[in-house]
């Protein structure tokens, strides 16, 4: 009889206490974000071993009880990695779908879209002009409706331009956040490494670091790996941003010009390499990629804000070219001291460096009426021949040029082979299709992410029912172990106090 039995029971007692504590920990953290359930890694203590306490030389040696070698997290690295990849996609599509919805509402032709209505009013007032070329009221209507049209185009353009700048700013703020996360991950790397040198698992620290990696994946596509020493490195598009305890910041360099808009100070994401040179970071996913695509996307397949700006610019230029050509060919209405003249522009054309008219300088943001028409509605050239108030045939009723102006509204080939309103319609429909596509992709990603998150939950989530069972298990173990101690205690007591009492 030795105290060996007591040791076995003692190990059971401390183990069951650990177990109950752990069950408590799991239950308390059941709702904690990013918490991975923990389990004791229990091993039985061998009877003959270097780590055992007693060297038993007899046959039928009994083990020394049980002990917890570590507290392990139940987590699947594979699911984590798959999930983070989908987070990046989801991040990108989420950004794009949200902004696309906003753009849609701008161009929404199913409600009373401002731009469409402006066109209708302008073309209608031109028709009125063909019926009465003399009336100052009707001419003023044409002038005002044309002015409203240009102002509406201006406003659309400036809203797009503002949004583009917002996307640019978002790139900067995202880069700042990425850098914050890199720093935190580096700090955690150091803490985890130091802690785990003691042989314990740094479960809670790892959980926090994993949360950071999740957040990072949503922002930009990342690759990460932990080497055999337990050192984590994180990289974006091949550029290392975290290497164990060291982190490299991404810089947003403001040296790009906005596509189509020509706004300066757009950001380019770079990283400083070993020689101190800045190299481009070619990220492809995450909300960072979403912002970039919206800010720079310039084709029908890659529709971003610049594409829409470009289309509006084409519309503005087309308007200016067509209306100017017709107005210049016709004669204005004389009044007061002004004579009937030709060659008056309808819309203003900016001058280039040499002082020549340059239609390519017109944008939807700067389109406006020519100074002549803006100040004098009589400068709208309705007549095909000079109008002379003192002649026998005054020619005041000549509306042939007005008919040509009005015909521009219904012309089916005014701009790039379609009419003006049809062109606008095509922009809106293209936008609708692109937006629907983004929303669909997002829905797909949401579903994938949801599926993977469920699988992660299934592996790593805490089930309170399960923990209660564990608790009960350890509770019983504790009770039983205490009984064992009682039993051995009375055996020892018998041995010590009541053995060898014969004859005393």
């Amino acid at each position: 009889m030795s105290f060996y039995g007591l040791e076995i029971a003692k190990s059971a007692l401390s183990l069951s206490q650990k177990g109950m504590n752990l069950a408590g920990q799991n239950i308390a953290n059941a709702a904690t974000e990013g918490y991975t359930r923990q389990r004791l890694n229990i091993v039985s203590i061998e009877p003959v071993s270097l780590s055992g306490r007693y060297l038993a030389l007899s046959v039928g040696a009994v083990g020394g009880g049980a002990t917890a070698t570590s507290v392990d997290q139940i987590r699947s690295a594979y699911i984590d990695s798959a999930l983070r990849k989908e987070y990046s996609s989801q991040g990108q599509w989420d950004t794009r779908a949200t902004e696309m919805k906003y753009l849609e509402s701008l161009f929404d032709e199913t409600s009373t879209s401002l731009l469409s209505k402006s066109f209708t009013n302008f073309f209608d007032s031109l028709q009125e002009l063909t019926e009465d070329t003399v009336s100052k009221e009707i001419r003023t209507n044409v002038q005002q409706d044309a002015l409203t049209l240009t102002q509406t185009l201006n406003s659309y353009y400036s809203q797009l331009s503002d949004l583009q700048s917002q996307m640019n700013e978002s790139i900067k703020t995202t880069v700042d956040r990425i850098n914050e996360i890199s720093k935190s991950i580096a700090d955690y790397n150091k803490s985890i490494y130091t802690y785990e040198m003691t042989g314990e698992n740094a479960n809670d620290l790892r959980d926090k670091r994993n949360l950071l990696l999740d957040e990072l994946s949503k922002l930009v596509d990342t690759q990460y790996s932990e080497d055999s020493d337990g050192k984590l490195s994180v990289s974006v598009a091949g550029n290392t941003i975290v290497n164990h305890g060291n982190y490299t910041e991404l810089t947003a360099v403001a040296d790009q010009t906005g596509v189509v808009s020509g706004t300066t100070g757009f950001y380019r994401v770079c990283i400083e390499d070993a020689d101190g040179n800045l190299t481009n970071v070619a990220y492809t996913d995450g909300s960072l990629a979403g912002y970039k695509q919206l800010r720079d996307g310039n084709t029908a397949d890659d529709m971003g804000i610049p594409y829409l700006m470009d289309k509006l610019n084409t519309l503005a230029r087309g308007l200016a070219q067509q209306f100017n050509a017709v107005n210049k060919a016709g004669y204005t209405m004389p009044h007061d001291a002004e004579a009937s003249v030709q060659n008056i522009n309808f819309f203003k054309v900016p001058l280039d460096g040499d002082g020549d008219e340059d239609y390519s300088l017109i944008t939807a943001g700067n389109l406006t009426l020519s100074d002549e028409v803006k100040n004098d509605p009589y400068k709208i050239a309705a007549s095909s021949d000079p109008v002379n108030l003192s002649a026998d045939n005054t020619n005041t009723g000549n509306n042939e040029n007005a008919l040509k102006l009005a015909a521009l509204g219904t012309s089916a080939s005014a701009i790039e082979g379609t009419g003006f309103e049809a062109y606008l319609k095509n922009i809106a429909v293209g936008l609708g299709i692109s937006s629907a596509h983004c929303s669909n992709m997002l829905a797909g990603e949401d579903s994938l992410v949801s599926n993977l998150e469920n699988r992660k939950e299934a592996v790593s989530g805490v089930s309170t029912d399960e923990e209660i069972i564990e608790l009960m298990k350890y509770q019983h173990m504790y009770n039983a172990a205490s009984r064992i101690i009682n039993a051995i205690d009375s055996a020892l007591d018998k041995l010590i106090n009541e053995t060898g009492m014969v004859g005393r």
Binding site: S105, A406, T464
Partner: protein, 310 residues
């Protein structure tokens, strides 16, 4: 697969959210009456409805143009009718005056009547509606018909009885308006068409008749005017029927546009508007599903093992 508490509550929340989204959608559809609230709801469908919208807007304007064209032609008709009755009276008087039985005082009275008719014809030629001269071709702000010092009729400054290329150019001036896609129609009547030019000009005929009556023309001199007056009248009638033809075309156009308006509105409505009955059904169904989800959720979420252990 393990099921954890979080999974149950997450999936419950997700499904609840899906139900609420559907509920929200149907509610919006019902309260706005529109199936499509934004472009991406049905981009291809929107293509058709946007087309219809543009056509409807154009149609409204064309309809207005057709209406004002009809008004312009009506004014022309009124003028021609007046000319017709003037010519009728002149013809009867000329017949009367061409007999030998008419007395000098009667002749003077007839002459006076002819003078009145002649002046009336001039004022008809210079008809103005809302401050615009109707029969001056492109000259809408000054009277097209004037008299020179010799009392000759001038149209926009040119002598009506003298044929010249300038006069011919004037005769071809007429205002058109756009009545449809690639469709313009002349809506004014040229003054020279109205009153005739050269020797057939109504004013000149009446003027000459007047002078013949007052300057002692013989019965046969007066008789010489009878046929020209008849010819002039039949010209006026011919003009009237031509205008009538144009008016009819406008009526047909008007009818067609009214039909087109209905069609396009229908197309727009088919795409954009929601079928109320269907929407209410959908709404009720999703409301039921939502309530069920709530009920089931409450019975799963609350109890746990702890409730059942002693």
């Amino acid at each position: 697969m393990r099921i954890t508490t979080n999974m149950i509550s997450n999936s419950y929340l997700t499904n609840l959210n899906t139900n609420l989204s559907a509920l929200n959608l149907y509610q919006t559809q019902l309260s706005t009456g529109k199936r499509i609230t934004k472009l991406s709801d049905d981009p291809v469908g929107v293509l058709g409805s946007m087309d219809a919208r543009v056509k409807l807007a154009r149609l409204t304007q064309y309809q207005k143009n057709v209406d004002s064209a009809k008004d312009a032609l009506k004014s022309a008709e009124t003028a021609l009718n007046e000319l017709n009755s003037s010519l009728q009276t002149a013809y009867e008087r000329a017949l009367q005056a061409s007999t030998d039985t008419v007395s000098d005082s009667d002749r003077a009275a007839i002459a006076e009547e002819i003078k009145q008719l002649r002046d009336n014809v001039l004022s008809v030629g210079n008809t103005k509606v809302s401050n615009r001269y109707l029969f001056g071709g492109y000259n809408s702000t000054s009277a097209p018909f004037t008299l020179n010092a010799d009392g000759d009729l001038l149209y926009n400054g040119l002598d009506v009885s003298v044929d010249s290329p300038a006069l011919q150019a004037e005769a071809e001036q007429s205002t058109s308006v756009e009545l449809g896609y690639d469709m313009t129609m002349q809506v004014s009547v040229n003054g020279l068409e109205l009153l005739g030019s050269g020797s057939g000009n109504i004013y000149n005929l009446l003027n000459n008749l007047y002078h013949t009556l007052t300057e002692g023309g013989s019965a046969s001199d007066i008789e010489a005017y009878v046929t020209p007056l008849q010819t002039a009248q039949s010209d006026v009638l011919a003009n009237l029927s031509e205008i009538g033809g144009r008016s009819n075309r406008l009526d047909l156009l008007s009818n067609r546009y009214a039909e087109d308006e209905l069609n396009y509105t229908q197309v727009k409505s088919d795409v954009e508007d929601v079928d109320q009955a269907e929407a209410i059904m959908n709404y009720k169904m999703s409301e039921t599903v939502y309530l069920f989800a709530l009920k089931v959720g409450s019975s799963i979420i609350q109890p746990s093992l702890v409730d059942y252990l002693k």
